[in-house]
Symmetry: C2
Subunit: 686 residues, 2 copies
Amino acid sequence: MKRHVILFLALILTAFCAQAEDGSKLWLRYQTASNATIKFSGKKSPTTDIAINELSAQWRGAPISLALSTNKEIKALGNDGFRITGGESGVTIASSSDKGLLYGAFHLLRLQECGALGATIDITESPAYRLRILNHWDNLDRSVERGYAGKSLWEWEKLPAEISPRYREYARANASIGINGSVLNNVNASPTILTPEYLQKAKAIADIFRAWGIRVYLSVNFSSPKIIGGLETSDPLDKNVQLWWKQKAAEIYKLIPDFGGFLVKANSEGQPGPHDFGRTHADGANMLADALAPHGGIVMWRAFVYNPLSDDRARQAYEEFMPLDGKFRNNVIIQVKNGPVDFQPREPFTPLFGAMQRTPVMPELQITQEYLGFSNHLVFLAPLFEEFLKTDTYARGQGSTVAAVTDGSLMGHSISAIAGVANTGSDSNWCGHHFAQSNWYAFGRLAWNHKLSSAHIADEWIRQTFGDDNLLLKNLSDMMMRSREAAVDYMMPLCLHHIFSTNHHYGPEPWFWNPNMRRDWQPPYYHKADSAGVGFNRTSTGSNAVAQYFSPLRETYANLATCPENLLLWFHHLPWDYKMKNGRTLWDELCYRYARGVDETRDFQKIWDRMEHKVDADRFAAVRHKLQIQARDAIWWRDACLLYFQTFSAMPIPFELERPVYDLPRLMKQPRSTEAYILEGNYLIK
Amino acid sequence: MKRHVILFLALILTAFCAQAEDGSKLWLRYQTASNATIKFSGKKSPTTDIAINELSAQWRGAPISLALSTNKEIKALGNDGFRITGGESGVTIASSSDKGLLYGAFHLLRLQECGALGATIDITESPAYRLRILNHWDNLDRSVERGYAGKSLWEWEKLPAEISPRYREYARANASIGINGSVLNNVNASPTILTPEYLQKAKAIADIFRAWGIRVYLSVNFSSPKIIGGLETSDPLDKNVQLWWKQKAAEIYKLIPDFGGFLVKANSEGQPGPHDFGRTHADGANMLADALAPHGGIVMWRAFVYNPLSDDRARQAYEEFMPLDGKFRNNVIIQVKNGPVDFQPREPFTPLFGAMQRTPVMPELQITQEYLGFSNHLVFLAPLFEEFLKTDTYARGQGSTVAAVTDGSLMGHSISAIAGVANTGSDSNWCGHHFAQSNWYAFGRLAWNHKLSSAHIADEWIRQTFGDDNLLLKNLSDMMMRSREAAVDYMMPLCLHHIFSTNHHYGPEPWFWNPNMRRDWQPPYYHKADSAGVGFNRTSTGSNAVAQYFSPLRETYANLATCPENLLLWFHHLPWDYKMKNGRTLWDELCYRYARGVDETRDFQKIWDRMEHKVDADRFAAVRHKLQIQARDAIWWRDACLLYFQTFSAMPIPFELERPVYDLPRLMKQPRSTEAYILEGNYLIK
């Protein structure tokens, strides 16, 4: 009887544990094991301890030896690289550093979780980028700019005394995907971050991260010398200012010996910078670089600059930074968004990639879905990242992919880095949407190995996050792989861009025009719709931004016969009856794309509902709820954009397509606050 | 130059007149003609004057002779009947009364407008029902109960001094379709209507209507003797009460010599009545009948009664009135709603039709769309009316259709009548929705000739209201003919009934349950959904309401093998996995029906948009706007009902069907005021 009771209780407990999944474990849902044999005879460190613990707790295979190696081939893999060899009698993980052993351990465990281990193992891995960094746009009041997953992870008010268990979990999650850097605070930086009080808080975090191979960086406000230093000026050529920064750097490194460096947004969107003093970006960056150089720190100087008076925002980063190429210190790297405007559903790559050759350039990707549905829409971004990295810039002939020109292989720089604007917050599932975790994961995996395909990344992530049922894998992967293009279609097809709501960025507002506001913050500047057509002419008869690309790319984009249709309205202003390759008019094609986007969201709902019994109840319900929001929002986008553009095209929506279910006057009355949309999506048109 | 200017202005004017259509002309958009020769040599009356004017202004054919005839065959057609004969050299309209000439004139003009006149004409028409009456649920404060087309047509505050031109237009519209009676005020009657002040107002209206063949009736409050008469009681057996009514009748007929009579709602939903004094319906009706009899008036006594304690509301009208069959005076007719509950998208006919044989029974149909989308949804009701009238009651064997048992042909009563609850109001297009006019029209045409098909009526109405373009006719007719079944499907398929919002009746609220409210006013009483199934068992194992029908109908309904599936859940409570004839489970079939309803509304949008260039701009835009509302509402109904019923069925919505885009908690938070819905429909889920 007692045995039965125990068995019954065990069953209940198992069932309970198996069922309640809140997403907090991310992709690290390993079953614990208890019989792994892990040997290590090298110099122990907190990092090697972690590696051993991870393997001990989860490895279910042959005995493992960890080896710190001085072998030339192993050293050639760099500090983070590793080699794993072995078979059924034993496995060896070798690296020239303890970090490499940690990455190797996680890699091996990942392969185990994905059922990807064969009888013999012979794996060599070396990360594509030396610095693989998350940027947190977290403010000191714990709000997160463009964050949709709760509050900032960093409990500033409790640090340094209280250490949230989440710091360790965060570090572990990042280590498991090879991320080795974290900028803690918003690029719209508060100077307060550099005060002694806050540096102590940053130190407390850095002390947790260190063993996981993660270095802390900080965003700095260029006016810090004046605002917190009390100096007269923040002019980078001012000796006192230079001294202030030197001293500040020394102060930082005393607290955080492996501090990574500074991330700087200057003279952009109202942020202070060297231009305020008649100095150049190089002047500003080099001053900071000199302050950090003795300590091994770097400066990531953002190229996200644009002047409200320019007639093409997309030209400006290039125009402003190309003259400065080669003028930066060795420890400065220019951080550039993937596209020339701002993280739109699709953009061509920023021409600085490949063009800037003497100073290293690093991509800034956006993981948080500022323009892709917040944490309401399921949009797998690996295809966006992959598309970007694999685009050929032709900077040095064919094969000069964005990846090649930034990972150090083509340009030969010593620093190679890649940054992702994080989508994390205090939500129990970290990212708001259970599937948004896949984008954090994908960023990490591509930062490590940009040759991975999106499909492979999706497969890894699904197996580790949900399970390996064949139908589940097939269906979830299908949905994820289609989701980026679906979002493009229901939001901004054919490379329409920046037609979102000026205020909250969540929904459509292509009509918004406030003559008192910067033109380049408003949709008509970008879509230029009128009775003659739509789109931005960036060819030689327009802004000629196309000339910033290398041949043959520039010709390919400029020529309508060769311009990829998914970039059409980025480079061309075309009449509504322009003939697409499939014979449809441009207007009709826009209608079909929006319709397709809506249909895709409905299909995702069907796919997900079919998987109900293969997914735990809590996550199933949460995702279903959000897919409903996405389906409603897709209709909102479709109707708002088509009805607005129709006032110019004066052409009917093809009659075989669903008609709008809203009218324009009502659509134009939408509320403008972000909060409403974050919580509920658009319950349609409040 | 001057000629050109004049021509130009004429063109502009024509274009303007041709384009601006606000629906105020209803189906009477005749082009004026000016060369008709109309002869009449009989006894002139205001009615014959009207007939001559109508023909003079619009007839474009051969010279017409109007003839009041004492011919036996013509007299046999009754006062309203007529005969039209002739050909290209001349046409004769003959009737035994001036009203018949008027109806003949309108009929001829209708045929002309519809292009239905051949070289020779030989038409004989005699109305199916002697009394063809509109019921206006208009209140004296000009609100209209269950009205969605503005305020009451009757400007009580301005009468009798100011006569709105609309009274004449109303009368003309009704005369054109043969309606000859109008109950001016709400069945939830204010006693004030019988005060001298208001009788003067009613007289003013009656004086306008008379020439158009329309008699005025009034709804009376049974407590009038007490409330306005100051009597101690309103007991129908009280001599003073009887006297009061006699005097009141005399007073009325002095003002309105052709007053039609009283419409009475008594002991129903809180209205006073004979039961309050321990008297029967017959006692009450007969008292009023005796008061009216000397003047030729009638009493239309409503059978819409139901007791909150009964376990089946659908049984009660029959239970209460059958024992009284034959106990009413000759000038009493029992007015019965088409279905036993209350104007649902589909109901079987009320068994009183056919069962009550000694006292005449008249159908009450609802033209206003209280349960069918207000003035937002396009629902052509002719199919509902036709289905009802053509259903065989088997009261006297096969062929005892509802039409036959009410039009006097089978039961031999002298009074035959049919009433429609009007959908008119002060809106410029009279009915709120341009297409709702077709239901007023259809009621009139079926009251005149219940053998007409819905398709024929639709064709007539479209030709007169929109035009005779072939594609227009085909498409609009298609949409109208599908619309009733579409509404059934997206609201209450398979004869679900009474699952609308308890408060405003506009949208779905199948979950509503307030233990302090009458059970029979709330959805669960009707759908009885639980884990075992759904539907109301009205067979012998349930309420046995089915036994109120004649054989073989009762067996047909009771037997699952023969019960029409579109009446299934009216008569049966079935398990969710009950096998439909097509093999699907009941649950799946419900899902498919709701999906089909939604698809239909989208199809109507497509149909209408294709017709844009065949319809004037104003009416096109107005209808398009409402079709958008209907499409949104259909989704609301689908999601609310399926998600709610799913909590009982515990079965998935078939995966090939679109998933819900709302979740139940949100759906259950809908606002409860009517006004919001009237104006905008559901902008989805405020």
